[in-house]
């Protein structure tokens, strides 16, 4: 059996969890394994149909009022009791901030190793093989597992979603008994950042500004582009963040976030190795830079050598025109 952890935020299952579930089902079908999902929290029962839509055959629901807010220690305890009972061979998480926090704790509690932030999974001799970047994408390594269950977290935005189906599976509610003192770390509040802009890791399109933006006020030019482009978010190089033109939540790169959107647009970014580390797995890369030798052009699918201040205004108009067609 494959078990996939379904992360719930704002009363919904996260898309990245559904991507992990879709990928699990592809492997499950090859290996002749049942693909199941697990929901943890309070009042999450109602979300089971979404997991069925993305081809879970069973959904386990672990509910307890103590788990209404995320707690790595509490959620781990709940998951361990389920896993010891149903003994899955494979467990997938989405490599989101919650997935990357929770999955290693669970792995250690189960005494197994975990491959984090994988970008590919394959079936090899009936077992799982995963591929993950090392050195921020300067190398790629494939791993198989000597411990069981085989555990991996999967990078968001990399694995295709399955075509949703209207199937219904079995929902299995499990009583979770957790002594209060086992919930050692509790989220008591979620503070939304800056007018709840979309996060760079979750956007289909990332519009990034570097030092070439010259100042805080010019990021408004990029905000105008994101307002035209659907499902887009604002990114930044470290230089722009260090200059305090923009909050470091937006930083892309080795010490920022790793993104793999469908489209990455870099304006006034030179393309230092630490920046490329965070975005080179993007599906399409666009660069606008006045220096024809800027390293960013080496990874760009389409580059414009020119002054970004002259390119952005007509570009916005062209995009508007095309998107309204």
């Amino acid at each position: 059996m494959i078990l996939v952890y379904m992360e719930c935020r704002d009363g919904k299952i996260k898309k990245s969890s559904l991507e992990a579930l879709s990928e699990a089902r592809r492997r499950g079908d090859e290996m002749g394994m049942e693909t199941t999902a697990v929901l943890v929290g309070h009042g999450v029962n109602a979300l089971a149909p979404d997991a069925f839509r993305y081809r879970a055959s069973k959904v386990f629901v672990l509910e307890n009022a103590l788990l209404s807010h995320y707690s790595p220690s509490g959620y781990t305890k709940a998951l361990v009791s389920l896993i010891e009972e149903i003994r899955p061979e494979i467990i997938f998480f989405a490599a989101t901030s919650m997935g990357r926090d929770l999955s290693p704790r669970l792995a250690a509690e189960l005494g197994v190793s975990l491959a984090a932030d994988c970008i590919q999974t394959v079936t090899k001799d009936g077992k799982l093989e995963v591929r993950r970047p090392l050195f921020a994408g300067k190398a790629f390594a494939s791993f198989t597992f000597k411990t069981s269950p085989q555990m991996a977290s999967l990078r968001p935005n990399v694995f295709p979603l399955a075509e949703p189906v209207e199937d219904q599976g079995e929902t299995i509610k499990k009583e979770v008994v957790i002594p209060e003192d086992q919930v050692k770390d509790r989220v008591v509040e979620i503070l939304k950042a800056e007018g709840a802009e979309l996060d760079v890791t979750e956007a289909d399109i990332v519009v990034t500004g570097g030092r070439g933006m010259k100042g805080q006020e010019n990021f408004d030019l990029l905000r105008e582009l994101t307002s035209v482009l659907p499902n887009s978010a604002l990114g930044a190089s470290r230089s722009a963040v260090d200059a305090e033109w923009i909050d470091h939540q937006h930083q892309v790169g080795q010490t920022g976030k790793t993104v793999s959107p469908s489209l990455y647009m870099a304006f006034g970014v030179s393309g230092a190795i630490q920046h490329l580390a965070g975005m080179s797995s993007s599906k399409f890369i666009i660069a606008v830079n006045k220096d024809p030798d800027a390293p960013i052009f080496k990874v760009a699918d389409f580059g414009i050598v020119g002054d970004l201040f002259q390119v952005i205004p007509p570009l916005k108009e062209e995009l508007k025109k095309i998107l309204s067609e």
Partner: protein, 260 residues
């Protein structure tokens, strides 16, 4: 407060990574090794807590003898003590193994602590697992990717970064914290610190002294292949008048890339 910080020796982020395809490993020659960048935030935070509340900062690292250089850097920044846990096994990319070494050290020899500080992720392995695994093994609360930390008596509050927001987390001490950029501004080494670091003896403990049997550390991940990133075909680079360039780009996005 007894503050322990865990640091790792890693190739600096500028390094060109070359692969030995026979051994499926990184060629060490020519790499410049440094203290992993996120670990600097962890060291700085420990120093600031000590300055505010008193106590002692001890820095630990598991690795070969050469690791002493980064431990000395931590002393030069202001840490009181440093300990090398000698482990000559080359990088396995298996966090479980490292977490077992660290948690065993904390169970057997270094049992008195209030806070364990880590970097959110080590450069290279990029796994971001050791802190959570150590927390699980010692049954401690954990808060990862922390950008703000407050300790009050025997409890704490931390802000941790998530997608588009921050989570406020409360916990009791002792606890595991992993540091994210933004938590603080790591200080530079002082001349006085550098002198102190030069003189400082760094004790070395072996795995055996920590009661670790190699078979318990068996690696759970088997590396089957290591490759360089696929070389990207060069794209289309144009140098037209801005309006014309913008038009071509928009067309490219719709017709060739089909992303909008």
């Amino acid at each position: 407060m007894n503050l322990f910080v865990f640091v790792k020796r890693v190739p600096d982020t500028e390094s060109k990574i070359k692969i030995n395809h026979e051994t499926n490993s990184i060629i060490q020659e020519g790499l410049n090794f440094v203290l992993s960048p996120y670990d600097e935030y962890a060291v700085e935070e420990a120093l600031q807590i000590r300055e505010a509340k008193g106590g002692q900062v001890t820095v630990f690292s598991a690795g070969p003898d050469e690791t002493k250089a980064i431990l000395k850097k931590c002393i030069a920044m202001g840490a009181d003590e440093a300990v090398l846990i000698k482990d000559d096994v080359s990088e396995t990319y298996d966090a479980l193994r490292t977490a077992r070494i660290i948690s065993q050290a904390l169970k057997t020899k270094y049992t008195e602590f209030d806070l364990l500080l880590f970097g959110k992720q080590s450069v290279g392995a990029d796994s971001a697992q050791v802190p959570s695994m150590v927390a699980a093994m010692l049954d401690l609360p954990q808060v990862n990717v922390v950008t703000k930390l407050e300790i009050e008596g025997n409890s704490g509050t931390a802000l941790r970064e998530i997608e588009g927001a921050r989570e406020k987390v409360t916990f009791m001490l002792p606890a595991v914290i992993s540091a994210q950029k933004g938590l603080n501004e790591p200080r530079y080494e002082t001349l006085k610190g550098i002198m102190a670091a030069k003189r400082k003896e760094i004790p070395v403990v072996t795995l055996e002294e920590l009661g670790i049997h190699p078979e318990e550390l068996a690696v759970g991940l088997k590396l089957t292949k290591m490759e360089s990133p696929p070389v990207k075909e060069s794209g289309k680079i144009i140098e037209d008048e801005p309006g014309e360039a913008a038009k071509k780009l928009a067309e490219f996005l719709r017709q060739d890339a089909k992303v909008i």
